[in-house]
Amino acid sequence: MRTINWFKYSSPASFYPLAGKLIPYFTVLAVVLTAVGLYMGFFVAPTDYKQGEGYRIMFIHVPAAWMSMFIYLVMAVYAGAGLVFNTRLSSMMASALAPTGALFTFLALWTGSFWGKPMWGAWWVWDARLTSELILLFLYIGFMSLKAAIDDPRRAARASGLLAIIGAINIPIIYFSVQWWNTLHQGASISITSGTSMEATMLTTLLVMSFAFWMYAIAVVLARVRCEILEAEGDTEWVAAQLGKGQ
């Protein structure tokens, strides 16, 4: 039996072509899932008995909020791996994830305010979940600006990695904010222990949209990390060979 040597792909030189091969698949998946999810969200999912048609923004809002937290955790794990194992690719992945995470955080806040206006009568309220999600956006911005401010790439990767790990403390605070504090933001409708309080098609649509966002995030991050690799390794032989092939 042949075993795959996973560490092979921790080198930028071998990861670059792999990422290039994977991007089309994830892109196709993202496009298809988004199309299916949006169709189901607009036409298949039933009208909510309490919130009417307005709730349909949930199919963007909830996946975006999930992804914003999830990407931060993935980023922190990559940053930690970069610090511990001293692998360049981990730090590159962490910094490639940051803009996508910030985008999803912004999207969650933006759609949340569109949802909040008809339901709560306000674009913005200072409750625990909204505030902690806003802090998450600030953490992403802090991470990116620290990375951009340091000229030495090695120090930039390590310093921003440490910051990412410290900021990870915010993720459980966001997630549990609706349980710990008595907030205006509604609690989770889906839980692993007690099942869901949601209609089945709504749940399916939500999951389809989440996977769509997930695939989109992977495709974009792989494309971005390819650019990072090229920037960092621009003067090596393998880059010259890759680009010479007309890749």
């Binding site: 505030t131 802090i135 600030f138 953490l139 911005i141 802090g142 600006s145 620290l146 401010a149 340091i150 120090r155 390590r158 310093a159 440490l162 910051l163 410290i166 900021g167 915010n170 605070i173």
Partner: protein, 222 residues
């Protein structure tokens, strides 16, 4: 280890006493920011009483952030920070000593000045007491967490603005519970829950941030 801690504190306090103007600048910044709000919002006493705790706390946040630049930069420039990293003593202990003296120099004056400023906002004696206790629990956290930011941005161009971007989001929980404790005591709910949470933030900050700061310093110095 305790002697090392003691000597770092004594050294930094001596250095701070040689440059008294720096300490006073931070303190007067705090006083001026707090005094600006009644001028901007208007002298309506009921509004001010509501705003008072929050304004004092935000000003304390900004003042302690402004003084972060001095925490490591002088030692970084004259090379003594490098010597500290090279000593066999654990770096976290030396960092803790530096943070402690930073708090004594920039945090304690704010705590002492706060009741006077609270009177300007018409806070009751009880609320002033809670304000002082909350600042006493909260300002060490500001110095401890700020030290990580200061260490990460050591020697960078535009480090002052950058440190605010890194550190202020992490200050937000302290602000919420600090200002919240005073508000809770004004509205009669009792400040104990908020103060306990502030204490609960202080303890892990005391344990983990010197260690993270030491790591950040090593990253910045290599």
């Amino acid at each position: 280890m305790l002697t090392a801690l003691w000597w770092v504190v004594v050294r930094d306090l001596t250095l701070a006493m040689r440059r008294r103007a720096d300490v006073l600048t931070t303190l007067f910044f705090f006083v001026i920011v707090v005094s600006l709000f009644p001028l901007g919002v208007g002298p309506e006493m009921n509004t001010l009483r509501l705003m008072g705790p929050g304004v004092v706390w935000v000003a304390a946040l900004l003042a302690s952030m402004l003084s972060l630049g001095r925490l490591f930069s002088a030692d970084y420039i004259d090379g003594s920070l490098e010597q500290m990293i090279l000593t066999p003593r654990p770096l976290a202990v030396l960092v803790l000593g530096k943070v402690l003296s930073h708090w004594l120099v920039s945090g304690v004056p704010l705590v002492l000045m706060a009741p006077l400023l609270g009177v300007q906002y018409g806070l009751s004696a009880q609320a002033l007491g809670v304000l002082v206790v909350s600042l006493l629990l909260g300002t060490p956290v500001l110095s401890l967490v700020g030290a990580v930011g200061a260490a990460l941005t050591l020697g960078l161009r535009g480090g002052g603005v950058l440190v605010s971007l890194l550190v202020l989001p992490l200050y937000i929980p302290v602000l919420i519970f600090g200002a919240g404790s005073v508000e809770a005591s004004v509205t009669g709910l009792g400040a104990q829950a908020h103060l306990s949470l502030l204490g609960a933030i202080l303890v892990p900050a005391l344990v983990f941030t010197p260690w993270a700061t030491g790591w950040a310093l090593r990253i910045s110095m290599e």
